[in-house]
Symmetry: C3
Subunit: 210 residues, 3 copies
C-alpha cells in the first residue's frame, strides 16, 4: 500500500505541475511546442537538478510514464483551456500535494545515500521548488516563489518536521509521510486563504546596486 | 565520408552558434569578455546539458577544437562587426544547419545508450535549442525560441522524421541524416520567409498570475 | 601552512559571497527564506556547476561547514541589515578575495584531473563568476558581471597569469597562488576606484533582433 500511495501522489504531482506549467505558458501566449517545453521543465526540473547533484541517473530518462503523463496533461490543458477557471481550487490542491510529495521524495533520495539531514532538506526543497523556478526564469518573470506565497517556506518547515518525526516520533513511516505531506498542503492553503506573509525586507533606499 | 560530413557540419554549427551569440551580446553592449562568455554558452550550452543528463563526459572539456573555434569566431565577429548586416542570410543558413545537425547528434547520443526514441527526441531538442535559451536568459530577454520562430518545432518535426526513417525507410544512415537536416533547414527557412506561425494562445484576461 | 591559508580564504570567500547574495535579495524585498536560498546559490553556484562539469561529487553535499557558514552569514546579514552601508569596503574586499581564490580553486581542480590549461581557465572563471550570475538571473536583473565591473576580466587575466607562473616562474606554489589572488583583488579594486571599463560595443541601430 505504501508503494501504491507514493506512486499515486507522484502521478498526481507530475500532472499538476505539468498543468501549472501549461497554464503559465499559455498565459504568456507561447505556441503549443513552447507550452509543451514549459510543462516539461516545470514538471521534471526539480527532480532533474536533484539527480544531477546526487550523480544518480536522471529519473525521467528511462521512465516513459512521466513523459507520457506530461504530454497528455499538456494536450488536455490546451484543449480544455477554460478549465483553469473552473478547477482553480482543484489545481491548487494538486499542486500543493505535488509540492509536498516531491519534497519528501527529495529528502528520501538524499537519506538513502547517507547524506546529512540538513543537506537532505536542501535536496527536498530543490525537488519541490526548482521546477517552478526554472519555469518562471524561462518565462522571464521573477520566480513567484520569491514573491507572493509561502512556498519554499512550506517545503522547509514540512521537510524539517518529516526529518524530526522519522527519527523521534516512533510512528510508522507511511504515517509520518502522509502527515508531513498534509502539513505542507495545510500550511500553503492557510497561507493563501488568509494571506499569510513572512515579513519582507524593505528597501530603505540606502544601497545602490550592490 | 560519413564521419567527415558530420565533422564538417559540426564545425559549421559551432561557428554559427558562436556568431549568433557574439552578435546578440554586442547588440546588448557587453564588453569583449562578456561577448566571449555569451558566444561560449550559446555554442556549447545545449550539448553540455545533454551530456550532464546522460552522465557522459562533457564534450568540450577534452576538446580544444571547439574552444578554439569559438574563440576565433568571437574575435572575428568583434573585428568585423558589420558583417552581420551583409551576411545575415549566410548566418541564418549556418544557424539552421547547426540546429539540424545538433538535433541529430543529440538523438544519436541518446540512441547509442539505448534510451527510448521519445527521450532521444527530447535530448535532440535540448541539444539544438538550449544554447540559445541560455543565451537569452543571460541577456535577460524572453527566450526567442518561445516567441517568434518555428525553432523548437523544426527540431521536433525533423527529429521525429529522422527516428521514423532510421527505423522504417531502409535508406542508408547518411542519407537519412542529410535529408532530415535539410528538412529542418527548409522548415525554418520557409517559416521565416513566409512568416509561418503556429497559432498561439491568447490571454483572454480571465486568469491572474497562476 | 599552505592548507590553512587555502582554508582560511575559502571560508572568507564563502562568507562574503553569502553576504553579497543576502544583501542583493533583501534589496529586492524577498522574505527570509528567499534570502537564504539566494545566499546559498550565490555562494555555492559556481563550484556546483564546476563539479557537475567535472563529474566529481558536488563539494557542499558532504560538507556541513559550507552550509553552516552560509546559514549563519545569512542570519547575521538579516539581523545587522545596516552593516552593508558601514562595511561596504570590507565586503568589497572579501568579495574580491573570494573571487580570486574561487578562480584559483577552479583552475586547480581542472589541472588535477589533467585537463588542458585553457579549459582549466574556463573552469576557474565559472567557479568565480557563476554564483553571481545565477543570483542575478533569479532576481531577474541582467547579470551585473556583464554590465558594470571588470569582473570576469579580472578572473581571466589573474587565472591566465596563475597558469603561466605555475609553469614558468619557478616560484613556490603558495607564492604563485597568493600573488595571483592579490593581482585579481588589485585589478578589481583599481577598476572600481578609477572607473575602468573595457570599451563596449555600441548598438548602431543597424541590426534587428538577430
Amino acid at each position: 500500500m505504501h508503494q501504491q500511495f507514493n506512486f499515486l501522489i507522484e502521478v498526481l504531482g507530475t500532472i499538476s505541475f505539468a498543468m501549472s506549467g501549461s497554464f503559465a505558458a499559455m498565459q504568456k501566449r507561447l505556441d503549443p511546442f513552447g507550452v509543451l517545453i514549459i510543462a516539461f521543465v516545470t514538471s521534471v526540473g526539480g527532480g532533474t537538478v536533484r539527480d544531477l547533484l546526487l550523480d544518480v541517473p536522471v529519473f525521467w530518462m528511462t521512465d516513459m510514464l512521466t513523459c507520457s503523463l506530461i504530454f497528455f496533461t499538456c494536450l488536455f490543458s490546451m484543449i480544455f483551456k477554460s478549465i483553469e477557471r473552473n478547477f482553480k481550487v482543484t489545481l491548487f490542491i494538486f499542486d500543493s500535494f505535488g509540492l509536498g510529495l516531491f519534497t519528501i521524495i527529495g529528502i528520501q533520495k538524499g537519506l538513502s545515500v547517507g547524506l546529512h539531514p540538513l543537506i537532505c532538506l536542501t535536496l527536498g526543497t530543490i525537488t519541490g521548488c526548482f521546477g517552478g523556478i526554472i519555469r518562471d526564469i524561462l518565462l522571464n518573470r521573477i520566480p513567484l516563489i520569491f514573491r507572493k506565497e509561502i512556498y519554499a517556506t512550506a517545503c522547509i518547515i514540512g521537510g524539517g518536521i518529516f526529518l524530526l518525526m522519522t527519527k523521534y516520533s516512533g510512528w510508522s513511516y507511511t504515517l509520518v509521510q502522509i502527515s508531513t505531506i498534509l502539513l505542507i498542503v495545510v500550511i500553503r492553503t492557510l497561507a493563501v486563504k488568509y494571506h499569510w506573509q513572512i515579513p519582507k525586507f524593505y528597501d530603505d533606499g540606502s544601497h545602490g546596486e550592490a
